[in-house]
């Protein structure tokens, strides 16, 4: 195809209509797919992709069936820009259309930036508790803590996907190797049916983990578990340990504890640690932490319900914000539809703990592009209004003339 024809197609309205039609099909199919595969998987497969692949049942090959969100968005963007360069001049009559399209470009670009740059996490605080980190709701990390010094801990964090892909993990600053014996992306704890294998340490003597299917529900998350064997520098085994957010996450751990019998409770309440070269290490698989240069302390969490019902009326968290570096220290009230924006992060009143009325859950989002939709909305709204009002005024004039 020669360049001229290509350019002609690139800035044609036909291409716009085709792209929009594909966008509708994609959004529709992607919405229906959420029922089957869950919101996150559907997003990745349909909207955050260049092509949507389909795996015919019973086969192993994949065929592309639809253009993905990135491809459609990209082509639309190119189409829009090309059309403006080629066809539209800067006339007063077209000013509205120009504003609409500028707003759309800003919106699409802003959403792409958000897609790439946005980091979401959560901060769970009990009244009186202070934290200088938030935790990811999606990703976990294997944390190896060197607790030898009572003053501070040294942490080595290994992302969860390493457990999934590697059999052995060796970190240069750790004097041992971690062998991944078992890894389950989603798991359930249960009491041990048989006696523990030789060398099993920690809670593994009382509990074992079984694999469960990955969740597709919006309101649930996968809780992984891994069985790890520690080998010292001479490749001698120190035993195997089970690690899982079930054993350390503030929300999940109480559930496990409640279900456990007294002996298991005792085991659960002990830290899983081992000694090597006179140093003490602790193991845990925990939600990935994002550290902040300041901390928040929850002073008071209020959760009103409508009289005589369980319908939540209002949640509000009064927190103390302390930043040692700048000696900033003030109180903030975070409530529904009124987040705290601070230090590039935004803290939202997201949820509460059904079991503990003193616990607040804040959603923590870092999104450098958060302002773009506001600007885009103003631009497009004003552009559409200008364009249609000029039409309407002309029409009314003609009718009444």
């Amino acid at each position: 195809m020669d360049l001229k024809r290509f350019l002609k197609i690139l800035c044609s309205l036909e291409l716009t209509v085709v792209c929009l039609a594909f966008a509708i099909i994609l959004v529709f199919v992607g919405t229906l797919a959420q029922v089957e595969i869950g919101l996150y998987a559907a997003q990745a497969r349909y909207f955050r992709s260049f092509v949507v692949l389909w795996n015919p049942p019973g086969t192993s090959f994949q065929i592309p069936v639809l253009p993905g969100g990135y491809l459609i968005g990209g082509v639309l963007l190119a189409n829009l820009i090309a059309a403006h360069i080629k066809r539209f001049g800067f006339t007063k009559k077209k000013a509205g259309i120009l504003m609409v399209h500028a707003g759309l470009i800003l919106l699409l670009a802003g959403q792409l930036a958000t897609d790439i740059l946005q980091v979401e996490s959560a901060m769970r605080l009990t009244e009186g508790q202070a934290k200088s980190y938030s935790e990811s709701q999606r990703y976990n990390e294997l944390a190896v803590l060197d607790t030898t010094n009572p003053e501070y801990n040294d942490v080595v964090a290994v992302p969860e996907h390493v457990l999934e892909t590697q059999k052995a993990i060796h970190q240069p600053n750790l004097p041992f190797t971690i062998q991944v014996r078992n890894y389950y992306p989603n798991s359930d704890p249960q009491s041990r049916r048989s006696s523990a294998a030789q060398g099993t340490q920690g809670v593994g003597q009382r509990l074992e983990f079984v694999q469960s299917p990955r969740t597709t529900r919006m309101d649930a998350r996968d809780v992984p578990a891994a069985e790890l064997e520690i080998l010292d520098s001479k490749a001698a085994s120190l035993g195997t340990w089970w690690v899982s957010p079930w054993l350390c996450d503030e929300e999940l751990f109480p559930l496990v504890l409640d279900r456990a019998d007294p002996a298991t409770r005792a085991a659960l309440l002990q830290t899983q640690s081992f000694k090597i070269d006179s140093k003490t290490y602790e193991l845990s698989l925990r939600p990935r932490r994002i550290y902040l240069p300041f901390f928040l302390r929850l002073l008071k969490f209020s959760h009103d319900r409508y009289m005589g019902t369980d319908i939540p009326k209002n949640f509000a968290s009064r927190v103390q914000l302390v930043r040692p570096a700048t000696q900033e220290d003030r109180e903030v009230l975070i409530y529904m539809n009124n987040p705290l924006r601070y230090g590039g992060q935004t803290f939202y009143q997201a949820s509460f703990d059904k079991r503990d009325p003193r616990v607040t859950i804040l959603q923590v989002v870092r999104n450098p592009g958060w302002l773009t939709p506001y600007l885009a909305c103003c631009l497009v709204g004003a552009g559409l209004l200008y364009q249609f009002l000029t039409h309407l005024i002309g029409f009314v004039k003609r009718r009444t003339a």
Binding site: S12, L13, E14, T16, V17, L20, A21, A23, I24, V27, F28, G30, T31, L32, Q34, V35, L39, A42, Q43, F47, L107, T114, E120, M218, R305, Y306, M307, G308, T309, I311, P312, K313, N314, M336, N337, N338, P339, T346, Y348, A350, Q363, V364, V365, N367, W370, P373, Y374, A376, C377, V380, G381, L384, L385, Q387, F388, H391, L392, F395, V396, R399
Partner: protein, 621 residues
């Protein structure tokens, strides 16, 4: 004379519509209306007893009134008086609707015929119903079978009924006033006897036993009673701290003072049971006077809500829209001036009724017009009628009135069916509790729905008139094209701005501008579809008929976004799964597809084309 007919017609029907704004008459010596107006607190909001009765009846039988065996009807308030005061009569009323064949089988009810059953007819089966309902309730909503849902519904109805029976008096007491006098007398010696017994000393066994017997009954009532009927003692501290009858009586043991509300209710009940209307009405009037002095705001609010429910503005709108539709259609077949003007004036009247109904609800709730699916249906209709009136004002060709009345009628029917689920003025969950976003995002989105439907229905008029009648002249076709185009522009503006505002709201409340939530996607699809129509038109990819077919497809797109996404059972916005609604949605989609097929028929099948020998403009190559 001929000119004044439309005005007279509109005036007569306006009078009929306004005539509901007065106290309804009851064939009873008891002051039913004032009883129905009494404020209580239920589901977190102050409401009249009449609303409690209506919503309870909806739960039990899906209708707001009770049919009597000998013909005639029992109004909700009259029925509630029976249930709370003379349940021995109410127990025989046919209240509970049982449809599911398996459920009827299990309960050994007749397979055919009778649909509604009384409390007494189901009495022997309570244990079985409770067992089945509790089992079914453990499963998630999507895993429940129709039998599970039916048994849960019946169980909820029976529980509600049982709770109502114990709301104004303990079911077991016959003369409640007398009992309260005894309770008051027993309080001091009774408490003393309990203390002595606890301390292991001698106590008066008679005082102890009779006191404890009453306390046990009130404790049972505290757990069973449904609405909170006793206003708070210290309204200046917490105005919403109402309590139910049982709780209030148990608190009396501490305070030593029976609440005035309880005493008046007891007086009313005793008088009702002894068939003494004067005494009943006197106690009721005294209580209302006391309420007016101490709880003025609540009393007038529940009085207004009582009037609103008895006025039934939206039911009246259904009737009026039907009249407008028939008049509007008639105008295309003769006597244009007469029918067109009649339809137009009557549409104006109906619009005023519809608007008043919505404004009335807004004042009652203290909210912007759209707070739930029910009110969105009311508002979609309202927006469509407003657009129709504007179109009619400019074009005077009955197209505006026919489209407006058709959409007004349909959305009122949808709203009516949605109202059968129960209270339509529920309190809003914390995240929705923001009048700013409800007033901007929700209103814009809903107007977007309304205008997309308007474009779609104008297109339907084009196709139906073109194919089946000879009334679609070339000029009419051109006019309709201009209308559809203009309305699509309007729809694009509202749905786009509404969608983006929704994103901004989401960004404000949980930090995610766009989360690909089904409801968001539905809104996005409408925006994209309107954009397609506009671009296809600008690029001359479609002609007149193509535009119409695209606009009709817009109806499908909008109905999916409005209702379809709620049926997916996923997403933060989902309102709940609705099976019956799913059937109707599918029926609507099929009907629209059929219309698109009609719209695509070759010219020779179009009656109007044959009549004029003139095809609507073919699309320019």
């Amino acid at each position: 004379m001929k000119k004044s007919i439309p005005v007279i017609l509109a005036a007569v029907l306006a009078f009929w519509a306004a005539s509901g704004l007065r106290t309804p008459t009851y064939k009873s010596d008891f002051n039913v209306a004032d009883f129905g107006r009494l404020p209580v607190l239920l589901e977190g909001r102050v409401q009249p007893l009449d609303s409690v009765a209506r919503n309870s009846l909806l739960i039990m039988r899906g209708k707001q009134s009770v049919l009597l065996d000998g013909g005639g009807q029992l109004s909700p308030s009259e029925w509630l008086m029976e249930v709370t005061m003379k349940p021995e009569i109410a127990d025989d009323r046919k209240l509970f609707r049982v449809d599911h064949p398996d459920l009827r089988g299990m309960l050994k009810l007749p397979i055919e015929g009778q649909k509604y059953f009384s409390f007494n007819e189901l009495k022997g089966q309570f244990e079985e119903i409770e067992k089945q309902a509790k089992r079914a309730d453990k499963a998630e909503a999507q895993a429940q079978t129709t039998f599970d849902k039916a048994v849960i519904k019946l169980y909820t109805g029976l529980t509600t009924y049982h709770r109502l029976k114990n709301s104004l008096r303990p079911e077991v007491s016959d003369n409640f006033s007398q009992e309260l006098v005894e309770f008051q007398k027993l309080m001091v010696p009774g408490v003393a006897a309990v203390r002595l017994r606890e301390a292991g000393k001698d106590y008066n066994k008679e005082d102890f036993d009779s006191f404890l017997k009453l306390v046990e009954v009130y404790d049972f009532v505290a757990n069973a009673a449904y609405p909170l009927v006793v206003p708070p003692v210290h309204p200046d501290v917490r105005r919403d701290a109402w309590s139910n009858l049982g709780t209030s009586l148990l608190e009396t043991v501490q305070s030593g003072q029976i609440q005035p509300a309880v005493t008046w209710y007891a007086a009313m009940i005793t008088a009702y049971r002894q068939a003494r209307p004067e005494e009943f009405n006197r106690a009721l009037a005294d209580y209302r006077q006391w309420l007016g002095a101490n709880f003025g705001r609540e009393t007038s609010k529940s009085k207004s809500e009582f009037l609103f429910h008895n006025w039934e503005p939206f039911y009246r709108c259904i009737v009026l829209y039907l009249c407008v539709f028939l008049l509007g259609c008639a105008s295309w077949f003769g006597a244009f001036q007469l029918f067109n003007r009649s339809a137009y004036y009557l549409l104006l009247v109906t619009f005023v009724v519809h608007t008043s109904g919505i404004v009335y609800r807004m004042v009652l709730e203290g909210r912007p017009p759209v707070t739930n699916l029910y009110s969105s249906a009311l508002f979609v209709g309202w927006g469509a009628v407003l657009l129709g009136l504007i179109l009619e004002r400019f074009y005077r060709d009955s197209i505006g009135v026919v489209m407006a009345s058709a959409l007004g009628f349909l959305t009122q029917i949808i709203a009516h069916n949605l109202s059968l689920d129960g209270d339509t003025m529920q309190m809003l969950r914390a995240v929705l509790d923001t009048n700013f976003w409800l007033a901007t995002h929700v209103v814009a989105i809903t107007l977007g729905y309304a205008s997309t439907f308007v474009a779609g229905f104008l297109a339907i008029l084009y196709v139906v008139r073109g194919v089946f009648t000879r009334s679609l002249a070339e000029s009419t076709g051109k006019t309709l094209t201009r209308m559809v185009y203009g309305i699509v522009c309007f729809a694009t503006l509202f749905s786009f701005v509404g969608t983006i505002l929704g994103g901004i709201w989401a960004d404000q409340s949980w930090g995610r501008f766009w989360g690909w939530d089904p409801k968001e996607n539905g809104a996005l699809i409408i925006v994209l579809w309107n954009a397609i129509i506009l671009h296809a038109r600008w690029g001359r990819l479609v002609g007149e008929r193509g535009l119409m077919n695209l606009a009709i497809f817009g109806n499908i797109v909008t109905s999916f976004s409005w209702f379809g996404v709620n049926m997916l059972g996923v997403g933060l916005h989902a309102y709940g799964f609705m099976e019956k609604a799913f059937f109707w949605l599918m029926a609507f989609v099929v009907s629209q597809l059929l219309l698109i097929i009609l719209g695509s028929l070759p010219n020779r099948y179009w009656a109007s084309w044959r009549a004029n020998h003139l095809a609507p403009q073919p699309h320019p190559a």
